[in-house]
Amino acid sequence: MITLRGLTKSFGDKPVLDGIDLSVAQGESLCVIGQSGTGKSVLLRCILGLAAPDAGQVLWQGAPLDRRRFMAQFGMLFQGAALFDSLTVWQNVAFRLRQRMDDRRARAIALDKLARVGLGPEVADLMPAELSGGMAKRVGLARAIADDPAVIFFDEPTTGLDPIRARAIDALIRGIVTETGATAITITHDMDSCRIIGDRVALLAQGRIAHDGPVRDMDRAPALAAFLGRVPLHGGPDAAS
């Protein structure tokens, strides 16, 4: 259970997050959408303490987030994959595993996770510099899920992938959340991804949460319709006029 209260962050005199209140329940999958540059990635960084918020609180299981304990059961896919370029693909995926098991077992698990993101054993010994952007992204995804984390953040998991691959990754993320009961926050620009991955969807606009509701009501929400540049399908509860 992650709760954000009044999270605020500006760079210089440019406000990016302006009082974010948001919570994700245990085992829930939240999708965060919003225009490019509205601060979605910054939001994740602030939750993790990778960027220091100017104000506000990040609570995890009711107490201020303890980074050490939190990271121990956490996985993250960075927007730019952030693979370690001095390690091979499998060593990247198995990074956490290798801290507590021998290389043979860690490699076997890494190969299995690579297979789940649609990458064969032939990429295992490549260096990250030899991968295409979409492949690097999928290796990053395999690294994020390698140790079966309880909380996972995905920053644009399907950007840069072909539509068929993208749907497969969506299904994979949904499957992980359902199977393992993991709590997930996924940033995406893709409404179809949202529908597959998310239980809830939140829209970030002008530094605030402009909409927060279940995915099944997505098409009726006026704030989302405005974001997508179309009129709502059926008048939502607050779209009477």
Partner: protein, 254 residues
């Protein structure tokens, strides 16, 4: 008030910066743990082994030039036969550590700042944090220790090659007899001359790797951020070496 403030502000900022760097160094050095040995060994190759050619060449030419200078300078007061002793003392106490340190600064501080800076701007350092790995322990600790361990060795190698450079010039063009040149080099050299130079080397190794790590970890955004980190690291390492050399020389020989 204002003049005092004008002095006070930068002084405070400088004190704060020095404190922060010192804390950073202590945290880095204290990060030893299981697996550090292998990581340090990898860095020893990068920092030490691969610096040997440049340090050796620098020492060779410096020793040779020093012999020429002392020969012609010494001729003014009929003292050109001090060439072997002065080349040896000058190389071992001062030029070996300082020039070796500066060459390592150019090669290593830049490489470290570029590597860690790139990891910073591509979020690899953030990724380490999300994988429960302490970036200080993973990236800084092995480099600091490797720098402290291998620069003294580079200095020792440089000392020997520098003295050989002087010997080459001395015996081929200054008319020295080979055996007496070597005997004279040894005769006036004291153990402390050598040891003090090696201690300087250890400090310079720390200065070089510390500035590479410090500026790399603080790299700003994008390629420009990495570029600035590299420049700052090399400049800080070079100035730091010369300043530390002055302080250490004062401590050791005054």
């Amino acid at each position: 008030m204002t003049p005092i403030r004008a002095i006070g502000r930068p002084a405070l900022a400088a004190t704060r910066a020095i404190g922060a760097v010192a804390l950073f160094a202590l945290r880095g050095l204290a990060g030893l743990g299981p697996g550090s040995g292998a990581a340090i060994a990898r860095q020893l190759v990068q920092i030490g082994w691969l610096s040997l050619p440049v340090v050796g060449l620098t020492a060779l030419f410096t020793g040779a030039a020093l012999a020429l200078q002392i020969h012609s300078g010494g001729a003014r007061f009929q003292a050109s036969d001090v060439v072997p002793a002065i080349v040896a003392i000058g190389m071992v106490r001062e030029l070996g550590p300082v020039l070796g340190g500066l060459m390592v600064a150019a090669r290593v501080a830049s490489a470290i700042a570029a590597e860690i800076g790139t990891m910073r701007v591509t979020e690899q350092i953030d990724a380490l944090v999300t994988l429960s790995a302490d970036p200080m322990r993973w990236l800084v600790t092995p480099r600091l220790w490797a720098g402290m361990l291998c620069v003294p060795v580079l200095v020792a190698v440089g000392d020997i090659i520098g003295i050989m450079g002087g010997w080459l010039v001395g015996t081929t063009s200054l008319g020295f007899n080979s055996a007496s040149y070597i005997a004279n080099s040894w005769a006036y050299l004291e153990a402390w001359d050598v040891t003090s130079g090696l201690i300087k080397g250890a400090v310079f190794g720390l200065v070089v790797t510390l500035s590479g790590c410090w500026f790399g970890m603080r790299a700003g955004r994008g390629a420009a951020g990495v570029g600035r980190a590299v420049t700052n690291a090399v400049v800080a390492a070079a100035v730091g070496i010369l300043a530390a050399n002055f302080v250490l020389t004062g401590l050791f020989f005054e």
